[in-house]
């Protein structure tokens, strides 16, 4: 028996849906999903009995093609075919040939890419875009998306249904001109960045988190590998995601609890991902484009290449944060900068920097209080530290954040 790649079914499902939407048209997305589902269901039934075929992907494609042709033949009206292909797909003489061509490897890769841009509909809320990408580009089921967002499958089903009503009535993936691709690239970047963040900072199970990060990496590489979308900003985003992903293995301790950066075992970092991230970062600086992703990737590179927490080039990181603030002048970025300042100028200076940032938005942000607590503790202001930990714990968004903060607060009591 041939062993299948992990998540092979997910990726095949997404691949088939992308090309089937091309066959049936945007209005028949549900049918496209159904035909793809059917092909996998067939594989699940047949392969245990007959063994995994030599080329699993070709087998699935053949089944989906056959069913697509059946569906087109059954349809009485031309409604079942993509409007621009209806004439060709309606004729017994040309149908099979056209379908054959649509399933060829190269247009197929193009269809997968276009799917991402089709779903990055600027009118949709970002959470809906990410849910759509997870389902239709990554092949996640509703339950799995719900687990990723810590919500109920019913809520996700409703969100997807609403979002699909919007995308299916706003043109087809193929109608996106290359200029549309350019215009939507920002939205796609943002959706992939959020997808990755959901995995990196989200509260779902560790396995799910790794899956989400891996999916974001896979999809961003589709963008990098396609000439129409491989801009320096795309490459910078890919660099950033690789460098962050490299640190995933050390973020949790043996009990699955979050570890602060200075306690993480750097020998667990994935050196290959670091190398690939650095290579992409190099590539991203070809040309004049600069973006927030370039700077975030440069900061991530500083961490990923530092031999230890103490030997991190904090001064350089602060300069990068200064530049990042020009692109992203948000209190959260300023807070990260202040924390970096404290690493080489001392906790008192850090506290001054943080105090200067005081604003409504930060006061409701768990890591603002966590940072204040940490800096206060290091400045031996135990009472203040305790108060900030209490506030941070009350703001924790999930159990793993809460456990993390409680442990830090507890260490404070032991030390004093």
């Amino acid at each position: 028996m041939n062993a299948l790649e992990p998540h092979f079914f997910r990726h095949e499902w997404a691949r088939l849906v992308a090309v089937l939407v091309r066959v049936f048209g945007a209005g028949n997305l549900a049918l496209a999903e159904d035909v793809a589902q059917d092909a996998l269901f067939r594989a699940m039934q047949v392969w245990p009995i007959e063994g995994t075929p030599e080329s699993p992907s070709a087998w699935l494609t053949a089944v989906a093609k056959r069913r697509a042709i059946d569906e087109l033949r059954k349809a009485r009206t031309q409604e079942l075919a993509a409007p621009e292909l209806a004439r060709m797909l309606d004729s017994e003489w040309t149908r099979a040939g056209v379908v054959e061509e649509l399933f060829a490897p190269k247009p197929l890769r193009d269809d997968e890419l276009r799917m991402m841009f089709w779903l990055a509909q600027p009118r949709l809320p970002e959470a809906s875009q990410v849910a759509l990408v997870l389902q239709l580009c990554s092949g996640f089921g509703e339950d799995e998306i719900a687990a990723a967002f810590l919500t109920t499958p019913a809520a996700i089903a409703k969100r997807l249904q609403r979002a699909k009503a919007v995308v299916t009535t706003s043109g087809a993936p193929r109608e996106l001109a290359d200029s549309d691709l350019g215009a939507r690239l920002d939205v796609v970047h943002r959706a992939l960045y959020l997808l990755f963040n959901e995995g990196y900072h989200g509260a779902s199970e560790a396995v799910m988190r790794t899956d989400l990060c891996r999916e974001a990496l896979r999809l961003v590489m589709l963008l990098v590998d396609h000439p129409a979308t491989s801009t320096p900003t795309t490459v910078a985003l890919a660099a950033l995601l690789h460098l962050h992903a490299a640190r995933l293995p050390s973020r949790l301790d043996a009990n699955g609890e979050l570890l602060p950066l200075f306690e993480q075992r750097r020998e667990l970092w994935d050196r290959e991902l670091v190398a690939r991230g650095l290579e992409l970062l190099d590539r991203s600086s070809e040309g004049d484009d600069a973006s927030a992703f370039h700077l975030e990737a440069a900061i991530a590179a500083c961490h990923a290449t530092a031999p230890s927490f103490e030997a991190t080039p904090w001064k350089h990181i602060v300069r990068l944060y200064d530049a990042l603030l020009v692109f992203t002048p948000t209190p959260v970025v300023a807070l990260s900068r202040a924390i970096a300042v404290a690493q080489f100028e001392g906790p008192e200076r850090g506290l001054e920097e943080v105090a200067a940032l005081d604003c409504e938005e930060l006061r409701g942000y768990v890591f603002y209080h966590a940072a204040l607590a940490d800096l206060s503790a290091r400045a031996h202001e135990t009472t203040a530290a305790r108060a900030h930990y209490d506030r941070a714990i009350s703001l924790a968004r999930n159990a793993s954040e809460r456990t993390f903060l409680e442990r830090r607060a507890h260490e404070l009591e032991i030390d004093h």
Binding site: M1, L4, H7, F8, F9, R10, E12, W13, Q37, D38, L40, F41, R42, A43, M44, Q45, V46, W47, P48, I49, G139, F140, G141, E142, D143, E144
Partner: protein, 110 residues
Amino acid sequence: MSEFLYLYRNGEKLSPEQMQQQMGKWMTWLKDLETKGVLKSAGQPLERSGKLVSGASRAVTDGLFAEAKDVIGGYSIVEAKDIHHAVELTAGCPIFGVGGGVEVRPIAKM
């Protein structure tokens, strides 16, 4: 030894990831039956759709989708000492993990 028909009744709709996992489990389970020497035929999966013909007028209706819950998605034939043994052998069938079931029917001896 007698022969028994296993009719696999589908459970809930599965995600692609679940289907991939299910497939691996089916392989293991069928292999296990084979090793025990009780698998007479692994059987064949059934098409997802069909027709139901019923009544004196032989009214023809569409069958249910093979993915729908409780619909028979396939079958196997096993050899077992008796019905209890045949039931026992279903242990480990992956279909239980996804809300489905196995109908065990003795094949009548002539």
